[in-house]
């Protein structure tokens, strides 16, 4: 054997990484809450139609990082420096249209947070505020979004019911449908399964694998098995620094950094 099998695999993955276009490029990103330096010089590439997982112990800044991608960090009074390139623009700065940005980069939160309204109104809200007025078009968007979120069959007869009457897992898929309804290019998922049971979690993971055909997903998770199962690339964040970033298989099988190895083998965190 001239070429080591593992080496070839790794080489091919690296070439693939280079060839794929980046949707979001993070360049030297720093973030402070008051005087606390929370994110330190982060560099990261989010690849199109791939799932990127961000892992790390609690308090490492992974949720903070993902909230900079759609400027949700504005709500937390954070001070941000550096660049996040999306569609050729640096989205850090006052001249960015955050409303348009958030339409194009959707988000799903840790705890399912449907509005206390009907299932239909939940999904229709995004299109409605973006100017879709025709009833039939709204209905079509709601149906398509619920289908993409694998929830249509469960709720199609009860669209007028209050969203809070759904189970936790269904609520989270409803939130995914709500995000999909404005047709985002990127979907940010902030520990979307942490409040869910294993069956619901499995459904959401399947859903993510389906969705990556049509969009790019970034998921924050504290569950390493989940990262290993669904993601293509993994970033390991520790105390505000990006320790290691690469193809998931490499991060989990042959991490370069000692800290990464310690974390994924469960020695801390």
């Amino acid at each position: 054997m001239l070429v080591d099998d593992d080496w070839l695999k790794e080489f091919l993955i690296q070439e693939d990484f280079k060839a794929l276009p980046s949707v979001i490029s993070v360049r030297n990103l720093n973030l402070w809450f008051g005087s606390t330096h929370v994110l330190k010089s982060i560099n990261l590439e989010i690849k199109r139609n791939r799932i990127t997982a961000i892992i790390g112990p609690s308090g490492c800044g992974k949720t903070t990082l993902i909230r900079t991608f759609n400027r949700m960090c504005d709500l937390d009074n954070a001070r941000v420096e550096g660049e996040i390139l999306f569609d050729g623009y640096n989205i850090i700065g006052d001249d960015v249209d955050v409303v348009e940005l958030r339409r194009r980069i959707g988000m799903v939160f840790q705890k399912p947070n449907p509005f206390p309204k009907s299932i239909f109104e939940n999904v229709a809200y995004g299109p409605l505020i973006h100017g879709v007025r025709s009833k039939s078009k709204l209905y079509r968007i709601v149906q398509e979004s619920l289908e993409r979120a694998a929830l249509w069959d469960e709720v199609k007869d009860r669209l007028k019911d209050n969203a809070l009457s759904l189970s936790g897992g269904q609520q989270q898929r409803l939130c995914i449908a709500r995000a999909l309804a404005v047709n985002p290019e990127v979907l940010l998922m902030d520990e979307p399964c942490s409040a869910l049971d294993p069956v619901s979690t499995a459904k959401i993971e399947d859903l993510m694998l389906d969705l990556k055909e049509s969009l790019t997903i970034v998921i924050v998770t504290h569950n390493m098995q989940q990262a290993a199962r669904v993601s293509d690339y993994t970033a390991f964040l520790y105390m505000g620094e990006l320790v290691e970033f690469g193809p998931t298989s490499i991060i989990f099988e042959r991490p370069r950094e000692e800290k990464t190895k310690a974390y994924i083998t469960g020695r801390f965190g």
């Binding site: 709500l75 194009r104 947070n113 509005f115 206390p116 505020i129 973006h130 939130c175």
Partner: protein, 287 residues
């Protein structure tokens, strides 16, 4: 050990008795008013006052006047109060400017009510040359009810979970769309509580309207731009200013009962709505 706990029992009983004192006063005041007011309640009470005779003396204009004042006060102060609360909760940054606004609201809440009476007279009647009227009474009372409405609305807005705001913003809603579509609808019962409390405050105050609205004796006045009687002022007028207490006292008792019934039922409504909203919110939080 036994003595320690029997001592505790004694202390707790003493506390229980002390805690009953406010209730005793409440019962005494309300009970006395009901007891003496009931015999004085007759249909003529709702008519106009008859100068010189107290047999069929009515306080109808005073009731109408109070309702006018309450309604106009709420028309003036509810919109401004709610908007100010939205600004403070959703928009205001943590700086000196915001601090000044909060301080001003606190100040308005704590000034003695007679100061408003004097200010209302000078500002609205002398400087702006408005006529002595229900509208000016309402403008003056708005300054008192504004802090009540602002603080109740602030509490209501703050109690809307952050996750609703995040969810709306994340699908590309603007800040105002988020507030309009998701924050306000969920804060509405708290805001209503504030409105009702403001209404009852406006109906019960006397000192602020002493010089800008109330007169001792008038017929039914339907114009909001003319002076008239008001229920609280009539009570004052029929007792301290009265020359024949034995005739006016029964009418004053009846006026007290009517005022008390009006104000207390509004307050009970406000407490009921607020408690219901709090329970509902706790249910949402825990789910």
């Amino acid at each position: 050990m036994i003595s320690k706990y029997s001592k505790q029992k004694l202390y707790f009983w003493v506390m229980r008795v002390v805690a009953a004192i406010p209730l005793i006063f409440l019962g005494w005041i309300v009970g006395t008013i009901i007891f003496y007011a009931i015999p004085a309640l007759k249909p003529s009470l709702l008519g106009a006052p008859t100068p010189g005779s107290y047999d069929s003396y009515g306080i109808g204009p005073a009731i109408l006047g109070s309702i006018y004042v309450m309604v106009f006060t709420i028309i003036f102060s509810l919109p401004i109060g709610v908007l100010a609360a939205i600004y403070l909760v959703e928009y205001a940054k943590d700086n000196l400017f915001t601090k000044i606004i909060r301080m001003a609201i606190n100040t308005l809440a704590s000034l003695p009510s007679i100061i408003y009476g004097v200010f209302g007279f000078v500002f609205f009647l002398i400087i702006l040359r408005f006529p002595k009227s229900a509208v000016v009474a309402a403008l003056t009372l708005s300054l008192l009810t504004l802090p009540v409405i602002i603080s109740a609305s602030q509490e209501a807005l703050l109690s809307v979970p952050k996750s609703y705001r995040e969810a709306a913003l994340a699908v590309g809603a603007t800040k105002w769309q988020t507030i309009r579509d998701h924050v306000l609808p969920n804060a509405i019962s708290g805001i209503m509580t504030g409105g009702i409390l403001g209404l009852s405050r406006a109906g019960g105050e006397t000192a602020p309207i002493l010089f800008v609205y109330a007169v001792g004796l008038s017929g039914f006045v339907f114009s909001p731009l003319a002076p008239s009687m008001a229920l609280p002022f009539t009570i004052y007028n029929l007792t301290l200013q009265s020359t024949g207490l034995e005739y006016t006292l029964p009418i004053a008792f009846a006026a007290c009962l009517i005022l008390l019934a009006l104000i207390t039922s509004l307050n009970i409504l406000a407490i009921y709505i607020r408690n219901k909203a709090r329970r509902r919110l706790e249910a949402v939080r825990s789910s």
